[in-house]
Symmetry: D2
Subunit: 353 residues, 4 copies
């Protein structure tokens, strides 16, 4: 999409790699069917490095040759796309390592000290609601699915100042949350039964203690850290019952649209805010109930870039924020990550609203 049409005299590293590394772009020609991807013997590691160097050098040449604005934007989009894959690589690596009973670690398997700090009390910030604007306004790069910017109506709501923690999730487990079908969506309950869910993905329980596989190895679950590797179905089932003494049920906010554009809404000034809403970025992706569907007046762009995100706008839910494996430069309030409701391998958790 970039080098062949725009860099004069560019020669592909290997014509056959177009087929090998085409994940789903029907516009780019034939490709290996997804369920049989694992059957392909990959090029050897040094070949892959050589391929990468070949690409990097050609992109540098192209950038040095004063490309048009259109080409420059395409390259920038490519960099953002690669960042998405960087976090998927880490997500997949954890998943693979967790399948392996000899428990290899991605790096430094030193045990994390389990913090004994008192769990911060759950507090909420109130927001006024009203008509606001959300979506990317096309100043700077954004994925197609982040726009167009448009108006939304929000009713007044309260948002938890922090994420749901592992300690709170253990309470949910101890309360029999994974065994009470009335808490669950029908589809989620079927999935939970079929796959035998009884705790977050990667957790194991030994002598009454919860352990989990992380990129740093097999460790005790840290009670004050945000719960992670839970599906939307679990997120939906779990936080119905808030702390005792709290009459009103906390409900999760239908946050797509106003979650990360919060600064555009006004917190009620009367409420003491302490530090206000925390842990928005860099911990875990936060499930929302919003479907990943096109914003009003969304129009797919033509060509291979055009099928970028629009094609996936069915059967998935929006996640907001970012996780601990998201590259730092990749944070953008209007970004909408998306996965099916049963997804557990993602670094995803939840926040009450």
């Amino acid at each position: 999409m970039v080098l062949s049409p725009h860099l004069k005299g560019y020669r592909p590293f290997d014509e056959r790699f177009t087929f090998l590394f085409n994940s789903y772009y029907e516009t780019l020609g034939a490709r290996q069917p997804r369920p049989r991807r694992g059957m392909i013997t990959r090029p050897a590691l040094d070949e892959v490095y050589a391929y990468r160097a070949h690409i990097d050098q050609a992109v540098a040449t192209l950038l040095g040759s004063r490309p048009t604005r259109e080409v420059a934007e395409l390259i920038e989009l490519g960099c953002h796309h690669e960042r998405r894959h960087q976090q998927l690589l880490l997500t997949d690596i954890l998943h693979l390592l967790a399948q392996n009973p000899i428990r290899p670690a991605y790096r430094d398997p030193a045990p994390v000290s389990v913090e004994t700090a008192v769990l911060p009390a759950l507090s909420f910030t109130d927001f006024e609601g009203g008509i606001g604007e959300i979506g990317h306004d096309r100043v700077g790069l954004a994925f197609d699915s982040e726009g167009p910017r448009h108006r939304v109506l929000t009713e007044p709501f309260r948002l938890a100042d922090r994420l749901v923690t592992n300690a709170e999730w253990m309470e949910f487990i101890e309360d029999g949350g994974y065994t009470k079908h009335l808490l669950w969506l029908s589809e989620g309950w079927a999935k939970a039964l079929a796959e035998g869910w009884s705790r977050p993905l990667y957790w194991e329980t030994r002598d009454g203690q919860h352990w989990t596989t992380t990129l740093r190895g097999f460790q005790l679950v840290n009670p004050t850290a945000p719960v992670v590797h839970v599906s939307y179905f679990e997120a939906d089932a779990s936080p119905r019952g808030p702390e005792s003494g709290c009459r009103a049920r906390a409900q999760r906010l239908d946050v797509d649209g106003n979650f990360l554009d919060l600064n555009r809404l006004r917190p009620k000034p009367a409420y003491p805010r302490k530090a206000g809403v925390q842990q928005m970025f860099g911990d875990v992706w936060q499930w929302t109930r919003s479907p990943f569907s096109p914003y009003p007046r969304f129009r797919a762009v033509d060509g291979a870039v055009g099928v970028y995100n629009g094609k996936f706008m069915s059967g998935q839910l929006v996640l907001r924020g970012s996780s601990c494996v998201t590259p730092p430069g990749h944070l953008r309030a209007s970004d909408r990550n998306f996965f099916p409701a049963h997804t557990r391998w993602q670094f995803a958790g939840l926040r009450l609203a």
Copy 2:
């Protein structure tokens, strides 16, 4: 849920029927797993009739005994629930008959005369948008999923005055709509490939003419009738290309919320309306892009009735209106029917917005 707790001295027709006829109510105890339902030998037909008479008589007795308002409402809810199943029965009957190569008809298989009338031109009515209210206001019965009534913000939009027709669908087929992956959602394209979709469910093509199986037998497709038995995926892929000369693409309205509550919005007076928006009820259910999710402040009721619709609020899309097999008394503007996006056996079609 009705007779055992509320009719004094009521004795079940057969204790074992609770198990046999429990479709999905976990609160009502054990039940046959869905995939193995077909393995159960049913009670004989006369037993089923006797069972029905037993129930009818007991309900009549209960109604004659001045039941509480709560019980009366429960019975009314039961009647509405039965109406839903009546249309599902006809939907299933068509599906079964269509599997049978000897093509039995549900009734009077006389061929419908294919109307030669000119297809009415496609016209649109404009609406102003703004903040309106939708959802059931709890005057008269409604399903739990129809409320609570709440405010929604709608941008100005145009709505087609009639449904998409079979003639228009044939154009979509002839334009290669079922072969152009760029028109389709990724999930829809995978399904279409896997199941070999090339026309609406039940259609067959012979000597260049389209035939279809209906409850009245195997018939020529009527070009001026609304297209029916298409999935959301097909609806989404199809109507992108508007009339020639029309620069702006028609987009389907994200209609859940304002579709059938249209009278609460004001059509722009400047537009000539002729007869205005037609075919809202009684033809085909109309796919919307809206997920079947809870309205703001939706709270599930406790008990078996409580799991009525809330449990299904994931992975499904809202359909609005009603179809030709919906019992007449079952029309309600706030009703939200719901099915997964791949559903084709329903009497569902589409309207441009």
Copy 3:
């Protein structure tokens, strides 16, 4: 195969029934795919009776018209074929009734008195071995798979005088037979794990007692009756360990070929025979280790009759004898019934050799 080609002026009851009731005969044209058979709405019961009467009358007419020997044999083959289906009907009926938690009985559900008689001791009859002849010799009707008659070499062997009983099977269960993988074939163990086998099909255990579903309803398992509804995998796993004190392991005879042609072999005269080998016919089909493969010089006949049994000569094992639901006239020493090794719904048990 019979009436259309051979009865002058015969008119089919309904042309479409050829499709509907064609189970697997590719030579007879199109048919409903097996996994979707259950989707076909059947003709009504009175139509089915009328169809049967139509056929019976036509066959009677044909038989009265002095048919050729070839046609007469074809009709006789059809009668034998129908008898096979009669026992399959009863086998299927039991299977269906057993799925139904309200436990309908096929007939007279009076409980069978559980015999308290002492279990007859297990005795064996010795056979000399040598070269014998087996297979049908074409005097009288036989299925194609029963011939040609040919020579077989058998080593001396001992055959149990009675079938393995339910009491013995309970011992196998109590010995942990269903939990000791070393006893099982690899394929059988995988199946047993996947389907959770822990006793014969249809058995349930309540308060330490074994019950089972029979055509006469839900009953206590009779300890002295032959065990039934076990697969070949269970038969193979179970009887390795003989009575204590018996050093030599009893091995199951590779009996296809000499089992029911026993009278052609000579029992060693020195052994006292009492009543000799009992329960050969009319109790349960007896699994053998012999594959269902063609006898030497077997040649398939041309046409639809030709594909009668030869097509199934892979992946199945031979069963000998007959069961309690085999029509009495259907017993024939050379008959070879055949099923895959995992089959449990058949009335099949085992005999030690």
Copy 4:
């Protein structure tokens, strides 16, 4: 099985490898479930080499310490077992490479010159039949499944002097062999339809010429070479129609038992033998119709070695001879290879009998 119990002071290279590399030995403890094997990240290549060196050294030490006869035999059995895996490795490598559209070759992809030599005429050698002995007699090492030696009765038969060739297989294809259901076993036809078989595995047809993937790359099919990568179902369907003018149908010999022990039977001296039966070893494994079942009086040995082959004695057919990827030292007339009838990835072909 060898080092831990028998080499004093032996320490495993890595305790966790026992789990990782346990393929199916339930006696050796837990293991990764087969369908999820591909999910395990393997140890790095240098670790694997170090592991191998560790084992080799320890075995050398053990052999140098004058082990008991039992231990020596166990080591020899291990060597034979490894040879089996060596040929499976090559079989799997070809399979993987053939999935890869960029067609990597295992070695030297120089095109094989397609021999233009005239196909040798098909001739047969006659054998007298009678009672012979087969099976391993326990002089020298053999797998458990090769014995006990026992008597078999064979009728006179004729055996083709060479294997079926690619040229003959092309005739079968051109005759519509893959489209004529009457030629096929029912189970085989279902498989062929489901997987779209129309030629041997790995074959592709371009401009009327057949190409195939080999360990040496993508090459024209050599007409005079033995056909390979066909299942038993294809072998069974194919060679029914012999040369024109040959009235009697050639039938495949039920060869297990006498195939490779041919020298124990006497060819009829009257027949001119030229070179006699050729291509017995080192070309392709030859399908037989014999089930892989225990020889008379076969007894499984106790322990992990005991489950060596006996556990697999169901649902598989015997193949005789050896293939081009069998290590030379691994040839033994009594060896019985075994695979399910649908297997195509093996280097397996056929010989007429």
